[in-house]
């Protein structure tokens, strides 16, 4: 049974404050390109990734800062990446949408919707063929369910009983297109079940529910039960990207979802249980603020990769 803890709150606050700082740095012109914020969805990354082990792999999307932070990639290297600095987790070659980290088996930020699903199937296949007891967590959004690779990948993973956790963050919008405007069948779990995968829809605004569902799914996958599908029903509070004027959804809808913000919800629960008081919360906020400020300062002080290195890594070096 997953217990509420200040640690869960801490992790969600890290993501929330990091993303707020990212928005500020974008406005200040320090971060460019597309910036997709994870604000509102923190419970999913924190509740899910906590259940992964070092041997496990993660494949993610272009809205992946929260996943990267929860996985243990440092705030410093993520912010530096977005600043385009050499000290970034992809040397400044990926930016916000393409965070990578070999040490934590974080196989990216993929900006091709559903492009990561086949990759996850293959990672799981490779691990399985080499006898590694790993799970590959494949994170994608509701938009991916419209792509052919979603269906192909669920089918193949189920056919070969591969250890993949398909984690769908259903935030109700594929960029600006609402689920019901692009899917004849809006119950995404039903689709997964049609391929023979156990599937469950989970309240993605409840970090404990996310954690419970993930723990149970991972346990079955590790026991050789084959892939599973979890749909986390969540919501992004911010625009799709910094360029998005949000013409496609009602402000009232956003406000309604904000009332289900996972951070105050957990805070309240912790207070009720006597696990958090004002002083403890202030201490957490201060710790997070310091970490984020340090990340921004680190990114600011970072170096730019010399242009002479532009063509490095097109092919592997040393051959």
């Amino acid at each position: 049974m997953t217990e509420p803890s200040a640690s869960l709150l801490h992790q969600m606050l890290r993501i929330r404050r990091f993303e707020e700082a990212s928005a500020e740095q974008y406005s200040a012109g320090k971060i460019r390109g597309f910036l997709h914020l994870y604000i509102g969805q923190e419970a999913v990354a924190v509740g899910m990734i906590r259940e992964l082990r070092d041997i496990d792999a993660i494949v993610s999307t272009y809205r992946e800062h929260g996943h990267a932070l929860a996985r243990g990639i440092s705030a410093r290297s993520i912010m530096a990446e977005m600043f385009g600095k050499l000290e970034g987790c992809a040397r400044g070659r990926g930016g916000s949408m393409h965070l990578f980290d070999a040490a934590t088996r974080f196989y990216g930020g993929n900006a091709i919707v559903a492009g990561g699903l086949p990759l996850a199937v293959g990672l799981a296949l490779g691990d399985q063929m080499q006898g590694r007891p790993s799970v590959t967590a494949c994170i994608f959004g509701d938009g991916a369910a419209a792509e052919g690779m979603f269906h192909e990948s669920l089918n193949l993973a189920a056919l070969w009983r591969l250890p993949v956790l398909f984690a769908c963050e259903n935030n109700l919008y594929a960029m600006g297109t609402a689920l019901a405007r692009s899917h004849a069948q809006t119950d995404l779990s039903a689709r997964a079940r049609s391929y023979g995968l156990p599937a469950e829809s989970v309240d993605g605004m409840d970090v404990l529910a996310v954690n419970r569902a993930t723990a149970a799914a991972c346990e079955r996958i590790r026991a050789g039960g084959g892939p599973e599908f979890l749909e986390f029903r969540t919501y992004r509070f911010r625009a799709h990207s910094m360029f998005d004027p949000e013409l496609y959804r009602d402000k009232a809808e956003v406000e309604q979802w904000k009332r289900r913000d996972p951070i105050p919800a957990l805070e309240l629960l912790l207070r009720e249980r006597g696990l958090l008081d004002d002083a403890a919360l202030a201490a957490l906020e201060a710790e997070v603020a310091a970490e984020v400020a340090d990340a921004v300062a680190f990114a600011e002080a970072g170096t730019l990769e010399p242009v002479a290195e532009l063509t490095r890594f097109v092919h592997s070096e040393g051959r």
């Binding site: 792999a57 970034g88 987790c89 992809a90 040397r91 400044g92 070659r93 990926g94 393409h98 990578f100 980290d101 070999a102 196989y107 990216g108 993929n110 091709i112 492009g115 699903l117 086949p118 990759l119 996850a120 199937v121 293959g122 990672l123 799981a124 296949l125 490779g126 691990d127 063929m129 080499q130 590694r132 590959t136 052919g148 690779m149 192909e152 990948s153 089918n155 193949l156 056919l159 490095r312 890594f313 097109v314 092919h315 592997s316 070096e317 051959r319």
Partner: protein
Amino acid sequence: MEISYREAVRAAIVDALERDPKVFLLGEDVGLYGGCYAVSKGLHERFGPERIRDTPLAEATFTGAGIGAALAGMRPIVEVMSCNFSLLALDQIVNTAATLLHMSGGQFNVPIVIRMATGAGRQLAAQHSHSFEGWYAHIPGVKVLAPATVSDARGMLWTALEDPDPVLIFEHVALYNMSGEIGEDAGPVDIDRAAIRREGADLSVITYGGSLHKCEAAAATLAELGIAAEVLDLRTLRPLDDAAIFRSVRKTHRALIVDEGWRSGGIAAEISARIMAECFYDLDAPVARLCGAEVPIPYAKQLEDASIPQPETIVAAARRVVGR
């Protein structure tokens, strides 16, 4: 010993499977069926369904699965039935395999080999007969091989599997039944160098893959007419062996590029531009191209024949270049 191109590719796959437990083959009907062009016939029985993996008809996903398995430390050989079908996997090849190493700042290389059949000549019409190797040669991050001989069919796969990065191998459908001599101990071949298949002083005929043998036949005819054509087999389309191309053109002062792919924006245009840039003052005639007609390849034999270079059209093009 004499061996067919098909048998040579099969022998290369067997070699790889025996040499390295991390190697496995996956693709549509590579197992029980024995491969669309019978390349992997018998391998399912011999190596089992784990290593000779039949996949659903889902090019994007089994190619992507190969990429993922490569990232996890395996050495997959992905077979795509036809390069026309590879367009369904183009996203995975271009946006992932070719991109990941650079985009990840050098952290994730993708040691995958993707084999596919290419080219016309078997009356398979417009969705099985095209030549897309030139397109793929446009993409940084991949190597593009076009084995034209039995020895290269046997040896290039070995070399490709030793490469830490994605390698695409294009096997021309008209070559599978071709036989050639090969040493019993044939092993890996280099993939960095073009090869002069026939020496000559009057013009350089630059080609690769299925067109090589047509160019050799044309060169024999040209010799009877007193024209000594040098036939250069590119072997690898990315990276191009510029030095070998320039060396030959500087010797013959004339160049004809023969390519089954469409002319507009094709690999022949790229080679031509490179020759122009580097050998301008060595040239005695404009660089000529003989490419596929700009049509979807048709079914009817006479139309299919007319849509790609043939020995007679190569002879005619070469004579225009030398002016006799």
